[in-house]
């Protein structure tokens, strides 16, 4: 029987960061809790934060369940996380500049060239191009799990366009509105500077040919996208236009947007569209979402694209294994955050081990995301395991495996009262002229008892995440 680290109760005692929350829950009768929960849901619905799940059909206006029990870190815990996250974000960006340049890390034999250059996410179109300030990934979302008081593991890196930051901000907004007393009693670091920091980060990577205050836009695939709410939310808080591909066009050396007063030049595009779709002339010719000619303007320094095309090669699950090596190679430092030990089924020995231990491991597709296409061995039936075995055998290089981690739990409101549920954490690191992150992130919680899958598409919820001031 695995024991899980409970972030509130350690050996029967309440851990320091949660001290004041114990009184709070004791003072809250069930009726009040239900009332507050309903109030929170109504607020979310009114604001319009909903989440469409691909391939599930059903209510397109579904809400991600919000759990009112906050997750808390002390200033000390956070300081260490922050150092580790920034370190990782810097190394990932150094790696990207390197592999699209001279490829020193490959020449040095620290990472196999095959993994980089034959990677589906490796973008030949940007080889030799160094984006402004040498930044490829401007928003790095790093998924972390915890297994003990000081044990944090990085589950995966998201270098392209990590989503969910709107929940970090809205969860806080709603908690402050519903429980102002809690915020008076606990000294909680604010997170609401994120949109301004994001805007500054984007403006700081304006292209070479921009000699004025840069015009920043967010490029969305459109209002049918499941993350559309987040796109419009960020545009609103940053005070920038939210555009679709059809609103932009290339003329001369620049990108322009169509306005009621005529064309207006665009300097920085924060795109929430995959590489494959941003320019039909350069990538998928059938893309209706992109802007023909965008890549030419990009490569000639007429516009910045965030994250830069090609950034995906750094957050590939097979490349992930080498991030600690990247940190040592580029920064000359020891990694502060640990990687989860990973078996790559592409390697014969690893694959053999994985197939023999499917029942104990978590097996994932190299390019999968959102909790789809994965196997959680200990939580699966014999049939599910055998079905998955066939898939791994058929295409070993498409899979990696990791031990099933004893994910920490935090107290969570459930029908029966309060019970521990497993959580993870996604902080958002901003990389531009500076590297910074706001004290907080998105805590996702597996609401089903015993479940280790926190993805919202698989019945996960979200929590407000607190970092206490010193």
């Amino acid at each position: 029987m695995t024991t899980y680290f409970n972030e509130m109760f350690d050996a029967g005692k309440v851990r320091a960061p949660y001290a004041r929350l114990e009184d709070w829950t004791k003072a809250m009768p069930a009726e009040l809790r239900e009332m507050k929960q309903a109030e929170a849901e109504a607020l979310f619905r009114r604001i319009g934060i909903t989440f469409a799940v691909y391939g599930e059909g059903g209510d397109p206006d579904r809400l991600i369940p919000f759990d009112m029990f906050p997750r808390v870190f002390t200033a000390l815990e956070w300081a260490r996380l922050e150092r580790g996250i920034k370190q990782r974000a810097k190394a990932l960006n150094a790696f990207l500049v390197d592999v699209y340049g001279r490829g020193e890390i490959v020449r040095a034999g620290r990472i196999p060239g095959r993994l980089v250059y034959q990677n589906a996410a490796f973008e030949k179109a940007v080889v030799g191009f160094i984006p402004p300030k040498g930044v490829y990934s401007h928003i790095v979302g790093i998924d972390l799990v915890r297994t003990g008081p000081d044990d944090f593991f990085v589950l995966e890196d998201n270098c392209r366009t990590p989503s969910g930051v709107s929940y970090m901000l809205e969860n806080r907004e709603i908690m402050m509105r519903m429980f102002p007393d809690l915020f008076r009693e606990n000294r909680i670091e604010p997170v609401d500077s994120y949109p301004e920091k994001l805007r500054r980060t984007l403006a700081s990577v304006a292209p070479a040919k921009c000699h004025h205050e840069p015009t920043v836009v967010i490029l969305t695939p459109g209002h049918f996208n499941s993350a559309y709410y987040e796109h419009s939310f960020l545009a609103d808080l940053m005070g920038v236009e939210l555009v679709e591909g059809q609103d932009l066009f290339v003329e001369g050396e620049f990108v322009w947007m169509r306005t009621t007063e005529g064309p207006k030049r665009v300097d920085v595009i924060y795109r929430r569209i995959d590489d494959a779709y941003i320019d039909p002339l350069c990538f998928r010719p059938d893309s209706m979402l992109g802007i023909p000619g965008l890549m030419d303007v990009y490569r000639s320094g007429g516009v910045s694209i965030c994250s830069a095309p090609g950034a995906g090669v750094a957050d590939d699950k097979a490349v992930y294994t080498y991030v600690p090596d990247m940190i040592r190679f580029y920064l000359g430092e020891e990694p502060i955050l640990k990687n989860v030990p990973t078996w790559q089924c592409a390697k014969g020995d690893d694959c053999k081990y994985v197939l023999e231990h499917l029942g104990e491991l978590v097996v994932k597709e190299v390019h999968g995301s959102g909790g789809y296409g994965m196997l959680v061995g200990p939580k699966s039936t014999k049939e599910q395991i055998e079905a998955f075995r066939a898939r791994v055998v058929a295409d070993p290089s498409n899979y990696i495996a990791q031990p099933t981690l004893a994910l920490s739990t935090t107290p969570t409101f459930v029908d029966e009262g309060i019970a521990p549920r497993h959580v993870d954490l996604r902080p958002y690191c901003l990389v531009g002229e500076r590297v910074e992150l706001v004290p907080g992130g998105l805590t996702r919680v597996a609401l089903k008892e015993g479940s280790l899958v926190v993805n919202s598409s698989q019945g996960g919820g979200v929590k407000d995440t607190w970092v206490l001031a010193e």
Partner: protein, 316 residues
């Protein structure tokens, strides 16, 4: 502002106004149908479909024009792009796309209408009186309008919303008046009869202008007075001249803001001048139906120019 954003705002307004008109049309129809039926009339309900421009779609789907089917088609049917339900869904979807250009209050008003519509659609039809449906629609249209007036920034977005409202309203007022034409089409001798006046009064009621009309004119209700009220009186909030004045006003505001004029402005001004010159006698000499048909086409052309000049994004 992004042309697409302007376009979304413009359509929010057009759809909300159209939803309200559909509800008003239903009310006119139900009131006219309460009259004893006289031989020789075309079906009153049919006239309603003709006036709303939905006759062909209805005929394909339902065939016979009876009240319940008409209610379904004009209120609930998502196959009918002009039904109240379709309009509210479209208005809310346009709003969702441009959330950032709206205040919370405006979004709230639109979203609430949408959520309540969902509930209405789940309610058994036997529990839904027509009057309840029309009142419901007008109440929500008013709430959206109120939220816009009370909370929205007076920038170009506000102008595009209002252009949508006024263009749609001018078209709709003309169409509502045209219902009269379809009802009375075969029997010219009814003009001026008691029945005729009853129908005109019903039209006023449907426009919520019954009292206003009496304050403005007093005395006998005549076709001439009503036409004057709904076409030429700038005091009437739904009259054609009020709408056209609104359009020229908002186009002029855009000219000041953008420091450039547009062909749409010239067209709107010409329409305005035309209404200023004409008298109610001229209108009846030309034929009310002919006058209204011409006006509806003019407004459609003006709408096309507004699209071309501001909303299409083709401006260079």
């Amino acid at each position: 502002m992004l042309s697409r954003t302007a376009d979304n705002l413009y359509w929010i307004a057009r759809y909300m106004e159209r939803a309200e008109t559909m509800a008003r049309l239903l009310e006119v129809g139900s009131r006219i149908s309460l009259l004893p039926s006289v031989h020789g009339y075309r079906s009153e309900w049919d006239s309603l479909l003709q006036a709303s421009g939905t006759a062909i779609g209805f005929d394909k789907k339902y065939g016979e024009a009876v009240q319940r089917n008409i209610e379904s088609y004009l209120f609930f049917d998502h196959d009918n792009p002009s039904s109240v339900a379709s309009c509210i869904v479209s208005a809310r979807e346009n709003a969702r796309i441009v959330r950032t250009a709206l205040t919370t209050q405006v979004w709230d008003a639109l979203n609430t209408a949408f959520q309540e519509l969902r509930q209405l659609e789940r309610t058994p039809r036997s529990q839904l009186e027509l009057s309840r449906l029309t009142e419901w629609t007008m109440r929500h249209a008013a709430m959206v309008r109120g939220a816009i007036d009370a909370t929205l920034l007076r920038n170009d977005g506000y102008d595009f919303l209002n252009l949508g409202y006024y263009l749609e309203r001018s078209d709709n007022t003309a169409r509502l008046m045209d219902v009269k034409y379809y009802v009375l089409l075969p029997r010219v001798e009814f003009v001026g009869s008691g029945l005729d006046n009853y129908q005109w009064t019903t039209l006023l009621r449907a426009m919520s202008s019954h009292r206003a009309f009496h304050w403005a004119y007093g005395g006998e209700v005549t076709a001439r007075k009503i036409a004057d009220f709904l076409i030429l009186n700038p005091q009437c909030p739904r009259s054609l001249i009020t709408c056209v004045e609104g359009i020229t006003g908002h186009l002029a505001r855009l000219e000041r803001l953008y420091k450039r004029s547009s062909p749409a402005q010239g067209k709107a001004q010409a329409l305005h001048d035309g209404l200023n010159r004409v008298t109610v006698e001229d209108i009846f000499d030309e034929g009310l139906h002919e006058f209204l048909t011409r006006f509806i086409l003019d407004v459609a052309a003006l709408g096309g120019m507004v699209h071309e000049n501001y909303l299409s994004g083709d401006l260079r």
